[in-house]
Amino acid sequence: MKAKLLGGVIAAAVLSFNSLASAQTPIRIGEVNSYKAFAAFLEPYKRGMELAVEQVNAAGGVAGRKIEVIARDDNANPGDAVRMAEELVSAEKVDLLAGGFLSHIGVALGDFAKQRKIVYLASEPLTDKIVWQGGNRYTFRLRPSTYMQSAMLVPEAAKLGKKRWAFVYPNYEYGQSAVATFKALLKAAQPGVEFVNDQATPLGKIDAGAVTQALADAKPDAIFNVLFGADLAKFVREGSTRGLFQSTSVVSLLTGEPEYLDPLKDEAPKDWIVTGYPWYAITTPEHKAFLDAYQKKYNDYPRLGSIVGYSTIKAIAAAIAKAGGANTDKLVQAFSGLQFESPLGKATFRAIDHQSTMGAYVGRTAVKDGKGVMVDFAYRDGAAFQPSDAEVKKLRPAD
């Protein structure tokens, strides 16, 4: 009975996968992600990916072949992620790998790619290590890194002219390196700045009341926030009830992304300086085309995850087209310096560290029609927010 049930489940799944495959052999992209563990980001991500695959194939595919994505859930566990990658490479015979959400899984997959000599495009993981300390010949990264996004906020922060800064961030590498980057760059931009309080909170378990209180007691002029998700929601609600934001400016990473801003509804913070994705107000033609197609297909608005998923496929398609196929060595060469189109505009994979120059929007938050939005925003091209080439070379091991 059980065996039958399992057999049925497998058979059904196999059928559905087979029906996706076309007669000619498509180029296979293996995609590993924590779909169920981070569904809020990755459901829109998957949709973006599917839209891009559909568009690429409708246009006749690339290099004469269609493309196909084989997705695997890694259970938010790097060990499983590597096993799934092995499965994709050895059993599914994929031509290259993509995906990853958590930084440590991205780092693990990058190293796997190096070992197995297969191209891996890390779409979402933000850690600097993917392209610097842990960088290698086969690994490329799409999203602007922690460094880049923090750096994009520093000029705005310096313009505020605030002296006393406090910091609140999730207590792991992402939060720590964002704060370290921000502190270093702000100190350079605004000598004499003071750092008065650091609150490193356990990820997903912030004691928002106590943290808000401690920050307020430090009497900062401004706060740099790296919290996201449920931690952010708790912090925002406590902070506004306790009046923390009344006299304190806030500069905040990622808060303008719909994934994090939308759940706050009418309690979204006002006048924070944030990075994000104001899909409702971007007027560029390339974004308009994406937005229309996305809304038509899904009858829902895109999140940042949609952009990342969509751009991942577009970047891969561009690389395949440039390489004239899916040969790994040719793909590596194609990716280096590859220019590709994304809904956010043209971007390039830097030859020096394989980081794409895809940027982000920096603006201020506001509440409109009972919803958090970004206003006064501008697109910041990722190319402009990088350390010098010499520094990058020092950080990145030779291939």
């Binding site: 569904a39 060990g79 096993r83 190293d111 796997f112 209180q213 609600r237």
Partner: protein, 625 residues
């Protein structure tokens, strides 16, 4: 830090304490009476928040809001009742801790059901009507709702105490908590008592979740963060003691609030101590200290075995000739696998994962089954082994074989150190102390960027060139894992193995025949740690990278699930359990979208079909014939 600031921080701590207490009181009640280690308690908490959110979304105004909170709690009580009637009731007589497996499966099902019903996005609830603002205390604004929460904890404590001391039902609950046989002797309808306690416990969890709604959004990770907190509070307070849970909640919440208030401290020695960072493990550090000083928690009483009444451990029988041939044949088949399947195929990759999992599960089984010591933190030794191997290979450039020798040494050293404390405890307290130590190790690894690579871990731990082919590494895994598993088995049949089982079966009798029970358990703990470390070392080389996840809670739980699934009273149980669990997870995750729910349902089906674990039940069938 001013005195007034400290005072207001203490108020913040009180509000947090109330939340913790509501969460923990239900768990304590359920454990006290039914001896079920209810992993699904966090899921009930999460569901409480979601149900209340849906209700508040539809019902406006103050009455609507408070009705939603109460109705949310009641709904979770009903769910708890259904769970007890349909699942738990059938497995009370199963081997120790087996119910944990069912509740673990429930967490998977509930999580995916919640995702399907409410979607992935966090759902921020409304503020409590009438309590939306803040009151100024000592120049600082304190949310009115926090003050209401501060009152709610003692109120619920009082209500529970009245219920437990002034009603016949309460007297029965207390009697059952102290002595289960007595209740049976009183002729009480045990089934009704258990069902009502389970429902009330679930309702309390639901209430805790619902009351959080004005403070945090309903989200899909609430279950896991809540369950950890709940267990810690219950254990620190003393299992089954409601006032103990209250005191523990206060202690933990205030320690955290104090850490946050203290901020960074410049020590006279020059370095900086960042107290807020300590909140990462504050509760586990408190638990470790409390358990070392008071082995039954603050207000608990001795003797909370999780071994149910009337369970007789079955004999371990020496393999007969037929079985030996079977083992030999099986080993041959394992070795032949690379010839049968394509050399780089996924089968070998999966085989390596199964083999390391088997060794990990076998080492945990060694500790739990014959050793009688339950561990919720066995991944610590697996992870220490993995890190020892990875560091030796990467930082010291040792060859793979040397790193693989360092791996069990890493696990062994950790187990010797922590085991010394753990073997002084028993039952759930021992299990929770292992969890506390593993979380402390985890947090150190997670934070020590310079040595361990912090949350990103260590990459580039690949096998020496000779083993870089999958087939070669697979054969190495067969030799190492197979050999180590057989060695563990060998120890079980040697005099030491008998001494371990003696210490488990009866401490008093063991001591009365001259066995130094603590010493024996310490050695057993260390052996189990060393073998887990070996599995970890192999794991590191098979994955090429490791991260703090290798010593995280979920790996410990996976190990428990494997051991219990196979059957804790059988030697081959962990082997079958590990293989079945990994196979199910791999197959289902690959082909089904809601794979967690399906996996959970499969485990539930296995639990109900094989109430002594897969191997245990099959053996019982064959014996009956």
């Amino acid at each position: 830090m001013s005195l007034s600031g400290l005072f207001v921080q203490a108020l913040n701590g009180l509000a947090a304490a109330s939340t913790l207490f509501l969460l923990a009181s239900g768990l304590s009640l359920i454990f006290g009476v039914t001896r079920i280690v209810n992993f699904a308690h966090g899921s009930f908490y999460m569901l409480g928040a979601y149900v209340a959110w849906s209700l508040t979304d539809r019902l406006q105004g103050a009455i609507g809001f408070w009705f939603s909170i109460i109705a949310g709690a009641a709904a979770i009580g009903v769910i708890g009742m259904i769970v007890e009637l349909t699942i738990m009731r059938r497995i009370y007589r199963a081997p120790e801790l087996f119910q944990l497996l069912a509740t673990f499966a429930l967490t998977l099902v509930i999580k995916d059901a919640t995702l399907a019903l409410w979607g992935a996005e966090d759902l921020l609830g409304p503020r409590a009507p009438g309590l939306a603002g803040a009151i100024t205390i000592l120049d600082r604004r304190v949310p009115q709702y926090d003050l209401a929460l501060i009152a709610s904890g003692p109120l619920v404590l009082l209500a529970l105490q009245l219920l437990l001391t002034r009603t016949r039902w309460g007297v029965l609950v207390r009697a059952a908590t102290q002595d289960r046989q007595m209740v049976a002797a009183l002729g009480v309808n045990q089934a009704v008592l258990f069902t009502s306690v389970f429902a009330l416990g679930a309702a309390l969890a639901g209430l805790g979740g619902a009351l959080q709604l004005p403070r945090e959004p309903a989200g899909l990770s609430m279950d896991m963060t809540a369950i950890g907190d709940a267990f810690v509070v219950v254990v620190v307070g003393g299992m089954g003691s409601i006032p103990g849970a209250f005191v523990a909640a206060l202690l933990i919440a205030e320690v955290k609030a104090l850490c946050i208030a203290l901020g960074d401290w410049q020590t006279p020695l020059g370095f900086i101590v960042a107290f807020p960072k300590f909140t990462l493990v504050a509760e586990f550090a408190v638990m470790a200290i409390v358990l070392i000083l008071r082995p039954w928690g603050l207000m608990g009483r001795p003797d909370t075995t999780i071994r149910p009444q009337g369970s007789t451990s079955s004999l371990l029988t020496q393999p007969g000739t037929r079985q030996s041939w079977f083992i030999a044949g099986f080993a041959l088949l394992l070795f032949a696998a690379p010839l049968l399947v394509e050399a780089r195929s996924y089968t070998l990759v999966f085989g390596i994962d199964v083999l390391t999992a088997v060794l990990f599960a076998a080492s945990l089984h060694f500790l739990m089954g014959p050793g009688g010591m339950h561990s919720f933190g066995h991944a610590a030794y697996f992870g220490l082994g993995a890190y020892a191997a990875a560091l030796c290979a990467k930082a010291l450039n040792w060859p793979m074989w040397a790193a693989l020798v360092a791996a069990p040494a890493g696990g062994l050293i950790g187990a010797i150190l922590f085991g010394w404390f753990c073997v002084r405890l028993s039952g759930v307290y021992l299990a929770m102390l292992t969890l506390a130590f593993s979380q402390i190790v985890w947090s150190v690894v997670y934070q020590w960027d310079g040595l361990t690579g912090g949350s990103n871990g260590i990459v580039g731990v690949w096998p020496s060139s000779w083993y870089s082919s999958k087939a070669a590494f697979y054969c190495l895994a067969v030799i190492v894992c197979g050999g180590a598993t057989l060695l563990l088995r060998r120890i079980l049949f040697a005099p030491f193995g008998y001494a371990m089982r003696a210490a488990r079966d009866s401490v008093a009798r063991s001591e009365a025949i001259g066995l130094d029970v603590r010493r024996i358990q310490w050695i057993a703990f260390s052996i189990a740690g060393a073998f887990a470390g070996l599995a970890g070392g192999l794991f590191a080389f098979s994955k090429g990278s490791i991260s703090p996840e290798t010593l995280g809670v979920s790996r410990s739980i996976d190990g428990l699930v494997m051991v219990l699934l196979g059957g804790v009273d059988t030697i081959s149980g962990p082997i079958v359990g590990a293989a079945v669990f990994l196979f199910l997870q791999d197959q289902i995750a690959r082909h089904v979208e809601y794979w967690r729910a399906i996996l959970g349902l499969f485990i539930l089906a296995l639990v109900l079909l094989f109430p002594a674990g897969i191997v245990g039940t099959i053996r019982a069938w064959t014996l009956r014939r």
